[in-house]
C-alpha cells in the first residue's frame, strides 16, 4: 500500500525545500548524509512526520506491533563508566548495587507462569564478579522453566566483555549462549558510534567497530538482533546521521537487524544531570529521520517506557510502528528517572494503538503474530 501525499502536503514539502528528498523516497532512492542533515534541521516537524508516515504506511500500513515480555536486569554491578548511565561503576556491595541469584532471576520468570509472555529481555551490567557459568545457567534455567520463551539477551557490549573476560572469540561466546537458549540479541550499547561523542560518553566500553562486529557475527550465526542509538545527550546531529549510516551499511551486508530503537537520554542519577533531557520535538524528529534514512531496517520502535505513553502514541504518526512490550520490572530507565508506570496492561496498550487509528498486532520477538489484539 502506498500512501499518497495530499496536494497540500506536496506543496508544503516543496515550500520547505524537501521536494528532492520526497522524490527520492517515492522513487526508492536511498538518502545520503546531507539528506539526513536537512531532515534533522527542517523546522517543520509536521512535514517531516508526513514523509516518515508515508514510509511507515508503505511498509506496515496501520499495523502497530507490541509484545508481552519480561525484563530481567540480573545485575547492575558494572565496570563501565558511561557518564549517561545511572548504573555506572557500581561495585558489589555498593548501597544501590544488586546481583540476583539464579533462583531470584528464575523466580521472576516463574511468577509469570500464567501469562502469555513470549520474550525475556536479559540485559545486565558488566559485572566482574560473575563467572561465565552464571550466564549459561541463567539461560538454561529460563528455558527449563518456560521452554516457550524467546530469550533476547546480552547487548553487544556484554558479548564483547564476555569475550575479553573469558578469553573467547565473539563467535564462541555467541555459540555457547545459543546452545544454552539465547534466541536473539537486543540492540543496546550502541549509544553513539562516532568516536568524538563515544569517547566522552563511554570511553571504556566496546567501540563502534566492536559493536558492529558482534552484531555481524551474530547475524552470520543466524541470530536476529535490534539496534539502538542513545540520543539527546552530548552528540551532534551529524553524529546521529553518521550513526544511522553505519547501521545501514552493516544491514546491507547481513540483513540481520529487525528494529531500530532510538533511546532517549534520561538525566537523573547520572553524571549528565546538568543536561536538559531531549524534548518531544527531538524524539519525534529522530524517529522520523530514522524511518527515512534506514531504508533496510523493517521496524522503528518507540520504547514507551522511556518516552511516556502520550508521546509514544503520537510517535505512531512520525514513523514508529512498534511500541515494545507490556514490560515487567524495568530498572535501567527507572533508575534514571523515568516516571512512566512499569507496566502497561495489554488492554491499555491495545486501546492506545486503536485510539491512534492504528491496528494493534501482538508479536513475538521475531514479529510473528502471537495472538489476536
Amino acid at each position: 500500500m502506498v500512501t499518497e501525499l495530499s496536494p497540500l502536503t506536496r506543496r508544503r514539502v516543496q515550500d520547505r525545500g524537501l521536494a528532492d528528498i520526497a522524490e527520492k523516497l517515492a522513487a526508492g532512492v536511498r538518502l545520503d548524509f546531507d539528506d539526513g542533515m536537512r531532515l534533522f534541521t527542517t523546522p517543520d516537524l509536521g512535514t517531516l512526520g508526513l514523509l516518515a508516515n508515508r514510509e511507515r504506511e508503505r511498509r506496515h500500513g496501520d499495523l502497530t506491533y507490541f509484545n508481552r515480555n519480561l525484563h530481567i536486569n540480573a545485575t547492575n554491578v558494572c565496570e563501565a563508566t558511561c557518564i549517561f548511565c545511572s548504573f555506572s561503576r557500581l561495585k558489589t556491595g555498593d548501597p544501590n548495587a544488586y546481583t540476583m541469584s539464579l533462583e531470584e532471576a528464575l523466580g521472576r520468570v516463574r511468577a509469570l507462569r500464567g501469562e502469555l509472555i513470549t520474550e525475556v529481555h536479559v540485559v545486565n551490567g558488566l559485572n566482574p564478579d560473575l563467572p561465565w557459568s552464571y550466564y549459561l545457567d541463567l539461560l538454561r534455567g529460563i528455558k527449563a522453566e518456560r521452554a516457550d520463551l524467546h530469550i533476547k539477551g546480552f547487548t553487544a557490549v556484554e558479548i564483547h566483555y564476555f569475550a575479553v573476560k573469558f578469553g573467547k572469540t565473539y563467535e564462541t561466546v555467541l555459540r555457547e549462549l545459543m546452545e544454552a537458549g539465547l534466541g536473539s540479541l537486543p540492540g543496546g550499547g550502541a549509544e553513539i558510534f562516532h568516536p568524538r561523542a563515544r569517547k566522552k560518553l563511554c570511553d571504556d566500553k566496546v567501540d563502534a567497530e566492536g559493536w558492529l562486529e558482534v552484531h555481524r557475527t551474530a547475524h552470520e550465526l543466524g541470530l536476529r538482533s535490534n539496534c539502538t542509538m542513545l540520543f539527546g545527550s552530548i552528540e551532534t546531529l551529524e553524529e546521529r546521521v553518521d550513526h544511522m549510516l553505519r547501521l545501514r551499511a552493516l544491514q546491507d551486508h547481513t540483513g540481520g537487524f529487525q528494529t531500530f530503537i532510538p533511546l532517549r537520554f534520561h538525566h537523573e542519577n547520572n553524571k549528565l544531570e546538568r543536561l536538559r533531557e531531549p524534548t518531544g520535538f527531538d524524539s519525534l524528529r529522530t524517529y522520523a529521520v530514522a524511518r527515512l534514512m534506514l531504508d533496510n531496517i523493517d521496524h522503528i520502535k518507540a520504547y514507551w517506557i522511556m518516552l511516556g505513553i502520550e508521546l509514544a502514541q503520537l510517535a505512531l504518526s512520525w514513523g514508529v510502528d512498534d511500541l515494545d512490550g507490556t514490560v515487567r520490572e524495568e530498572r535501567i530507565y527507572h533508575m534514571a528517572g523515568a516516571r512512566t508506570p512499569q507496566t502497561l496492561g495489554r488492554a491499555d496498550l491495545v486501546q492506545l494503538i486503536r485510539d491512534a487509528g492504528r491496528v494493534p498486532v501482538e508479536r513475538d520477538t521475531l514479529y510473528h503474530v502471537v495472538a489476536e489484539a
Binding site: 495530499s6 508516515n53 495472538a371
Partner: protein
C-alpha cells in the same frame, strides 16, 4: 468470492463443532484423516485445514494459524491415553500408534518429563493397532474411538491431557485451523463464525457425545491455549521431535477502515475558509492526523505569521489558600491568578470579591478563571442576579472570564451563553474551553466547536469582545469509550484551528499530556500554551508527573523553533523572551 476456499478437515467426533457450520457458499469441505489433511495442505490441494499441531512443522510447511478455535483439552481429554496391562513403572517398551503424531509426540515428552520414564524405548506401530500391542510389559499410546472403548484387560490408563495439565498448568492443543499465508480475511472470519455457531450445538449432541464435547474438549484458542501450544512446540522442538519453524497466527488487515476524504477539502481548509458542518465532519472523521495537522498549521501561519508561541505566567488558587498562594504567585512573577471559587455557598461571592480585590490591590495580579457555572452558582447562592454578582467582581478588579474545563456541548446551553454575554458586556475576555474525556462523542466535540463559532460570530457582531482563544484539554481517562488520548487531543486542536476562523488563538493546554506532546501541537494549529508558572509542579498522577515550570515551557517552545512570548490575559501585553544562545549539541 469467485473460487471457494478448499478445506481439508478431520472427520472425528470432536471436529464437527468447528466444521459443520462452515458456510457452503464460501468453503468446499473435504473430510479426511489427519495425516491426509496435512498432506493436502502441503501439496497445495487445500487452502486451509483442521490439522494436527505436529504437522505445522513438517518440512516445507509455512502455514499460519487461524485465531479463535482449536481442538484442545484442559485436563482429562479421555481420548488420548497411555494404556497397558501392567503399571507404567514396569513397562519395558511403549508402542506409538501412528494415527496421531501430535499425541505420539506428547506421549514422548511426558514420558521424558513428568512420567519419569525417559529411559523407555518406543516403537511405532500401524495406526489403530495400539491397544492390540499393549500386552504384558508393553504399553501403548491409543487415541480416538479406540481410547474410548478399551478392553477391560488394560487396567493402566493414563490420560495425557491430564498429565500435561498437571505438569504445565496449561491446556493442550491437538489440532488447529492452519492455512496458506495469504488466506483471504473472509475465510479466516468464516472459520471463526462456523465455530461460534457450532459451540452451542454441542449441548444438543447425543448424550454419549455431549459430555466429551463439552467437558473433555476445549475449543477456545485463547491466551491459555496459545501458551500451551507454544510450550508444546518449544518442548517438541528442543527434544528433536518436531521440525523447526515458527508459530504465527493470521494477523489483522494492515489498514484501519477509513472513509475517503474529498480531494480538495484539505486544501480549502488550509486556506482558512470557513468550513461548513459537513466538511468539518468529513475532516474530523477521515483526515489522516498528519494531513489534518498540516492544514491547521497552514491556518496558524496565516493568522499568526510570527514564529512565536505565547504562554501566560499564572497560577491557580482557591478561596481557601488565597493569601499564601497569592504571595507565592507574585514572588514567581505571575501576571495573573486563576481563581477557582469552588462549590458556591452563600458567602462565596463576598469572598470572591474580597479575593479579587486583594489579588489586584496587594499583589498586582489580574484575576481570571471564573466561568459561567461559577458565576451563576455564586449569584444564586448569594441571592442576587448574575449581573449584580458580576458587577461586584468587576468593580473589585476582575479582568478575565472563563477558563474552567468545559464539557462538550456547554456552549449550547442558554445559561452558559447568557453568562458569557454578560461577561462580554462588561468587557471581560477569556478563553473558551473544551475538555476531552468527559463522556462526549467525537460528534459532540465537533458540535461544540461549531456552536462556539456561531456564538463568537454573534458576540463580535454585537460589538462584544468575544473569546480570546479556545483552550483544548484532555482528561486522559484511558477509558475505552472515551477517545481522549493524546492523539485525540492533537486532532481536536487541529480541527479547532480549521473550524474556528473567528477565534484568534488556540491553546494547547498540556498538563495531562506533557510538554513533549505540546510541542507536536505547535505544528497542528496551536500558538499558545496557556497558563504556567515558574518553578511549579502539578498533576503528579501515577505514571505522570509533568511540571508546569515556566522555564521548561519556554525551553520547549524554543527548541521547537519558536520564540517564547509571555502574554497577559488578553494578549495586549506581550513580552518576547530573547532566544537562548544556540547550544553546541543536538539536544532539542
Amino acid at each position: 468470492m469467485s473460487k471457494k476456499i478448499r478445506v481439508a478437515c478431520v472427520g472425528y467426533t470432536n471436529a464437527w463443532p468447528l466444521t459443520r457450520f462452515l458456510d457452503p457458499e464460501l468453503f468446499e469441505v473435504e473430510a479426511c484423516v489427519p495425516s491426509v489433511a496435512a498432506r493436502r495442505l502441503n501439496q497445495g490441494e487445500a487452502d486451509v485445514g483442521l490439522v494436527p499441531v505436529a504437522s505445522l512443522f513438517d518440512k516445507g510447511a509455512h502455514w499460519r494459524v487461524a485465531p479463535g478455535w482449536c481442538i484442545g483439552s484442559d485436563g482429562d481429554v479421555d481420548s488420548v491415553l497411555l494404556v497397558g496391562e501392567t503399571p507404567l513403572s514396569e513397562w519395558e517398551e511403549v508402542v506409538l500408534d501412528g494415527e496421531s503424531r501430535t499425541s505420539v509426540i506428547l506421549a514422548q515428552i511426558l514420558l521424558r518429563g513428568p512420567l519419569g520414564r525417559a529411559d523407555i524405548p518406543v516403537r511405532a506401530v500401524d495406526a489403530g493397532t495400539g491397544a492390540f500391542h499393549a500386552q504384558g510389559r508393553v504399553g501403548a499410546v491409543v487415541i480416538g474411538d479406540a481410547a474410548l472403548n478399551l478392553p477391560s484387560r488394560l487396567t493402566t490408563r493414563v490420560d495425557l491431557g491430564r498429565v500435561w495439565k498437571d505438569w504445565t498448568g496449561l491446556p493442550f492443543v491437538f489440532a488447529v485451523w492452519a492455512g496458506r499465508p495469504d488466506l483471504p480475511r473472509e475465510a479466516i472470519d468464516g472459520l471463526r463464525t462456523a465455530g461460534e455457531r457450532g459451540m452451542p450445538e454441542r449441548a444438543l449432541a447425543p448424550a454419549s457425545e455431549r459430555d466429551y464435547l463439552t467437558r473433555a474438549i476445549r475449543y477456545a484458542l485463547d491466551d491459555r491455549a496459545l501458551m500451551g501450544l507454544r510450550r508444546f512446540v518449544a518442548l517438541g522442538q528442543s527434544a528433536g521431535l518436531l521440525g523447526a519453524g515458527d508459530l504465527s497466527l493470521y494477523g489483522p488487515e494492515p489498514v484501519a477502515p477509513r472513509t475517503a476524504l474529498p480531494s480538495d477539502l484539505l486544501t480549502r481548509a488550509a486556506r482558512g475558509e470557513p468550513l461548513d458542518a459537513a466538511s468539518a465532519h468529513a475532516l474530523s472523521a477521515s483526515a489522516p492526523t498528519g494531513e489534518l495537522a498540516a492544514a491547521a498549521d497552514e491556518v496558524r501561519w496565516l493568522r499568526a505569521p510570527a514564529r512565536e508561541v505565547t504562554w501566560l505566567p499564572a497560577g491557580n488558587l482557591t478561596l481557601d489558600n488565597l493569601e499564601a498562594r497569592a504571595t507565592a504567585l507574585s514572588a514567581k512573577k505571575a501576571l495573573a491568578a486563576v481563581l477557582h471559587p469552588g462549590v458556591a455557598e452563600a458567602d462565596t461571592l463576598d469572598r470572591a470579591v474580597a479575593a479579587i480585590r486583594t489579588l489586584k490591590g496587594d499583589h498586582g495580579l489580574s484575576t481570571t478563571g471564573i466561568g459561567a457555572d461559577d458565576l451563576q452558582g455564586m449569584a444564586i447562592a448569594a441571592g442576587v442576579s448574575p449581573e449584580a454578582a458580576l458587577e461586584r467582581m468587576v468593580a473589585a478588579g476582575l479582568e478575565g472570564f472563563g477558563g474552567p474545563p468545559t464539557r462538550a456541548g456547554a456552549v449550547l446551553r442558554p445559561t452558559w451563553q447568557a453568562m458569557h454575554r454578560l461577561a462580554g458586556a462588561h468587557g471581560l475576555r477569556g478563553p473558551a474551553t473544551l475538555t476531552l474525556g468527559l463522556g462526549e462523542t467525537r460528534e459532540d466535540r465537533l458540535r461544540h466547536l461549531l456552536a462556539l463559532r456561531e456564538f463568537q460570530a454573534e458576540e463580535l457582531a454585537a460589538g462584544r469582545p468575544g473569546f480570546t482563544a479556545l483552550s483544548v484539554w484532555t482528561a486522559l481517562t484511558g477509558a475505552p469509550d472515551r477517545d481522549d488520548s493524546a492523539q485525540a487531543w492533537l486532532r481536536t486542536i487541529a480541527l479547532a484551528r480549521l473550524v474556528l476562523h473567528n477565534v484568534e488563538h488556540l491553546t494547547a493546554w498540556w498538563p495531562s499530556v506533557g510538554l513533549g506532546s505540546a510541542q507536536a501541537a505547535l505544528f497542528a494549529g496551536a500558538d499558545d500554551l496557556g497558563p504556567a508558572l515558574v518553578d511549579e509542579h502539578a498533576l503528579a498522577a501515577p505514571g505522570r508527573s509533568f511540571t508546569t515550570d515556566g522555564d521548561e515551557v519556554e525551553h520547549h517552545i524554543r527548541v521547537a523553533g519558536f520564540v517564547p512570548v509571555r502574554r497577559d490575559l488578553d494578549w495586549t501585553t506581550l513580552v518576547r523572551m530573547t532566544a537562548a544562545p544556540e547550544g553546541r549539541y543536538a539536544r532539542a
